[in-house]
């Protein structure tokens, strides 16, 4: 079989782009041009060993990206023109999109900035090209997500001010601080954090089963932007794996540094993804896969294969992986319970799972749901039936590192909260886990500066002393429109009208009608 390439081979083209178009500086010192390359302690002896297995050149990059965009926007147009929002499974589903828009899309923008920065700061041209392409990809992701969501914004509440909310709303400090932590690190830690731990090890859990779930719930726009973004992800994941292998192959002194970063960013990412766990188990009306199953396939199985592969470099699986694996049976229920009780302070609605949904959860979580979580939901149902829908009117303790309320339970004891505390230079700090506590101990100066939303409210920095003022004035959440229970909300009523059902009178059976 003759090879079809008549001109330059892929390898040659890539070589020209990433090596021969770079140059050695003559009148400035390399250290001055790339000042961030050494302070993290990573030793690079030969940048020419950098490999990008995709060998994508700029002409091919533009060609394929343009084609993806054309396909994507044709579908957005079709979705909008055909009132696609009326064909989703149920309006409860849209609440997952509200969380996505305020929690995830701004991270895409953060990634665009982050990769633009590190793409400037590596002296190796191959790494620079890969980071610059990824930077452009990430900008595309945030733009396409906003375009997709703008249609929903015309028909549902809570989507009106995502960038403002991302900077201020209490639970959005979880994704925001995650990315700020990565972006304020050096370039090699940034790549380990985002390219490897997040993109390679963890984001499959968001973009693969959740997007498949979007399709299963009739959301053509979201599945299309999700998979279009994810088609770039194959390259990003490859960059993540290559950068790890590159650092490990360059110098043995890099191994412990990289291992520490893997431990840290696995745990940071795992905590961040706890938000996704409840999206999968509670916010998709048509269920496609439980969080537990997704964790088993995309972390335990895939992560297992990956870390076995990396053994040859002296890398072991991330610390506290066992705690995370145990958590697959619990975190979605714990997170949903938390958002349910703080739903007066969110830009999306929550609700109690229906009887059929609870049966599905029992089936998926035979060891934990009936024992630890069903009684809580049934108790809340009884309260709700009496017209006393439960809201927690206090503020929660937050973890100093991940900024999630300290809601997780002990490994092996699901009735006790996992709480850790220590004193550092006369100040006391609290954590949700050993994982977060270890991260603090390694770089305390970084995390003593955490902008914890609860503490900021109490310091008087959020335009009000009571929750209602903070939520409306500081967060820009429209009270009675965006927040509280789904049942009886304007979204719910609108959905009933779309479906031609009777307008909602607040009857108890309305939840099942939804």
């Amino acid at each position: 079989m003759a090879t079809k390439n008549k001109k330059l081979s892929l390898k040659d083209k890539y070589q020209y782009l990433t090596r021969d178009m770079a140059w050695e500086p003559s009148y400035q010192k390399k250290e001055d041009i790339f000042p961030y390359e050494r302070f993290e302690g990573i030793k690079i002896t030969d940048w020419d060993k950098w490999e990008d297995p995709f060998r994508l050149t700029m002409d091919a990059y533009w060609k394929y990206q343009a084609e993806k965009e054309k396909k994507l926007y044709a579908i957005f147009d079709a979705f909008a023109q055909n009132n696609g929002h009326q064909n989703i499974s149920d309006a409860r589903y849209v609440n997952a999109l509200k969380l996505f828009l305020t929690g995830v899309s701004p991270l895409e923008y953060g990634a665009f900035q982050g990769y633009a920065k590190v793409g400037r700061h590596f002296s190796g041209a191959g790494a620079r090209v890969a980071c610059q392409m990824q930077s452009i990809d990430e900008l595309r992701h945030v733009q396409t997500q906003l375009h997709a969501m703008s249609h929903y914004n015309k028909h549902f509440n809570g989507l009106h001010d995502f960038a403002h909310m991302h900077d201020r709303v209490w639970f959005l400090s979880v994704p925001k601080s995650f990315f700020d932590d990565a972006r304020s690190a050096g370039p090699f830690e940034f790549l380990t954090a985002i390219s490897f731990s997040f993109e390679y090890v963890l984001t499959n859990l968001l973009f693969v089963p959740f997007m498949s779930g979007a399709a299963y719930n009739g959301d053509m726009a979201t599945v299309t932007f999700g998979f279009s973004a994810q088609s770039d992800e194959a390259r990003h994941m490859t960059l993540g794996l290559e950068v790890i292998k590159f650092m490990l192959e360059q110098h043995e002194d890099n191994v412990p540094i990289v291992q520490h970063w893997i431990d840290k960013w696995f745990w940071r990412g795992y905590r961040l993804l706890s938000l996704v766990s409840m999206m999968m188990d509670y916010m998709l009306p048509n269920k496609v896969m439980s969080w537990k199953d997704a964790w088993e396939v995309y972390y335990e199985q895939n992560g297992g294969a990956l870390f076995k592969d990396l053994e040859r470099y002296g890398i072991r699986p991330p610390k506290y992986q066992d705690v995370a694996n145990d958590g697959k049976n619990h975190i979605s229920h714990q997170l949903w319970s938390t958002f349910y009780q703080y739903s007066h302070a969110t830009n999306f609605h929550t609700w109690l799972p229906s009887a059929a949904e609870m049966d599905w959860l029992s089936e998926q979580y035979p060891d934990t749901f009936d024992k630890y979580y069903r009684p809580r939901f049934e108790h809340w149902q009884k309260m709700q039936d009496k017209g006393e829908r439960f809201y927690n009117n206090t503020l929660p303790q937050l973890c100093q590192v991940c900024q999630v309320p300290t809601l997780f339970t002990e490994h092996g004891d699901p009735t006790q909260l996992s709480l850790r505390t220590l004193e550092h230079e006369g100040e006391r700090y609290h954590f949700c886990s050993d994982g977060c506590c270890d991260i603090f101990k390694y770089e305390p100066e970084k995390y003593i500066q955490s902008w914890l939303p609860v503490h900021q409210i109490y310091q008087g920095n959020c335009e009000g002393a009571d929750v209602e003022t903070v939520v409306s004035k500081y967060y820009h959440i429209n009270i009675g429109q965006d927040n509280f229970d789904y049942v009886g909300s304007p979204d719910h009523q609108r959905w009933q009208a779309i479906k031609g059902n009777r307008p909602l009178g607040g009857d108890d059976d309305s939840r099942d009608a939804a």
Binding site: M1, T3, K4, N5, S9, L10, K11, P53, F54, R55, L56, A60, Y64, E67, K68, K71, N204, F207, V208, P209, M211, S212, G213, A215, Y216, V223, F227, Q230, S231, E233, A234, R235, M237, T238, L241, V288, M289, Q301, N302, G304, A305, L306, K308, D309, L310, E311, R312
Partner: protein, 90 residues
């Protein structure tokens, strides 16, 4: 321990030919259909051969065209003009 190399495609017209070609060239692979996506997994190694895809799709096909339809991968990547390989090496 099992080490699965995998690739996930959007469930669309292009991908159907790709999946057909992969299934033919990787008899040990398992094809799973999920809403809107197709996942193919195989112990240790998966290969896409340009020649097989061209035969299925009935036209010239550039290996990098797979970038349009891929959603996720697992394994070390090795790509050239004639094939795309995913492999765990340890």
């Amino acid at each position: 321990m099992s080490q699965l190399a995998f690739i996930v495609f959007q469930d669309n017209d292009n991908a159907r030919y790709l999946v057909e070609a992969i299934a033919e060239d990787n008899p040990h692979a398992e094809v799973q259909h999920h809403p809107a996506m197709i996942r193919i997994q195989a112990e240790k190694r998966l290969v896409i051969n340009r020649a097989t895809v061209e035969e299925k799709i009935g036209r010239e096909w550039d290996v990098q065209e797979m970038l349009l339809d891929v959603i996720s991968i697992g394994g070390n990547v090795d790509e050239d003009e004639d094939h795309f390989i995913l492999e765990w090496k340890n």
